[in-house]
Amino acid sequence: VEDVDDRFLLDAARAGDLDAFAVLVRRHQPAVYRVALRMLGSEADAQDAAQETFVRAWRALPRFRGDSATSTWLYRIVTRRSLDVLAARRPSESLEAAPAPAGTDPAEAAEQHERLRAVARAVAALPPEQRAALVLREFEGLPYDQIAEVLDTTVPTVKGRIHRARTTVIREAAAWR
């Protein structure tokens, strides 16, 4: 069942087959959760946002005609949800989540961890729209036109936001090197 295409699963889910919807959830939740985590910086908030994303998707199924890819559709929902959550937060509440370092040497690992924390802090401090563009480009590897579709804007705007975000992040993180 896992290798069947999204279209069959969407049709089945639209007709009320929750098992088909569960396959879609399992298939797309890693990307949805990753975006939410990188946008919100908190595992608890990211889980809430991922759940809300799929609940919204479920509700919107009758209106989703598959004009865009399922992944684009879900990226749109999770990005908007994350932007809403960020907008509702007080500015002091910016959180960051740094990944555990992969190195084996403890001193080197600790240093790398510090540097990645600096990156995470700089990403967390970005204006939300720049942060969304950066996350979709650098972390999800989406092409510019798909990011523009997800964010409801134009390719030049997306490129501008990503450039500003990268400039700010490396300037802030360079101070830690």
Binding site: V55, R59, R115, A174, W176
Partner: protein
């Protein structure tokens, strides 16, 4: 370990301009100065390293919490149950209600048990509101290439018509079969 990097380097170069150059991977505005200036060289090294850190951060795997699917689906089931109809079986000592979702699930599994059916999706068709013990079904199938699509559809209809009343107690009015796709059976 932290460098002190002000907005303007001792040589007069602006850190922002250097950061933009590294972020865009653009050629230097002043290559001769940058090549021999130790301040610029140190800053460019740090910025280049930071760009690498950003890439490392972006590529770091994110573990999905193990219970996330279950949590999401529990909420979706809750929602779906508020919308779905029930099969109602009236007996001498009370009535039994079975969600149409469950009825569809039983039909789906019955269809999947027929050899040659690779995928199945089932939907109940609401019958007469005054007769909630009766349901119709629409089954959508992906089947394996085989000698007779019609015979397979007939086998599915027969099996679902037999299994559904036995398992759920429902009276089955009609079983419509839609063949959605033909595939090469991966197990054949």
């Amino acid at each position: 370990m932290a460098l002190s990097l002000g907005p303007r380097l001792p040589c007069g170069a602006e850190l922002d301009a250097l950061a933009e150059q590294v972020a865009a991977q653009a050629p230097p505005a002043d290559p001769e100065h940058q090549a021999r200036c130790p301040h610029c060289t140190a800053a460019l090294d740090a910025l280049g390293g930071a760009l690498g850190d950003l890439e490392t951060y972006g590529r770091a795997p994110v573990a999905v919490p193990p219970r996330l699917t279950a949590r999401i689906m529990a909420r979706v089931h809750q929602l779906a149950d508020t919308l779905t109809e029930n099969l109602v079986l009236v007996g001498p000592r009370g009535e039994t209600r079975i969600s149409h979702r469950i009825v569809a699930q039983v039909a789906r599994r019955a269809a999947l048990a027929v050899p040659g059916v690779l995928l199945a999706s089932a939907q109940t068709v609401t019958g007469n509101p005054g007769d909630p013990g009766r349901v119709g079904m629409t089954l959508r199938l992906v089947i394996a290439f085989g000698p007779s699509v019609d015979a397979l559809a007939g086998a599915v209809r027969a099996r679902v018509g037999r299994v559904l009343p036995r398992v759920t107690g429902a009276e089955v009015s009609a079983v419509d079969v839609v063949v959605d796709d033909l595939r090469i059976d991966p197990d054949a």
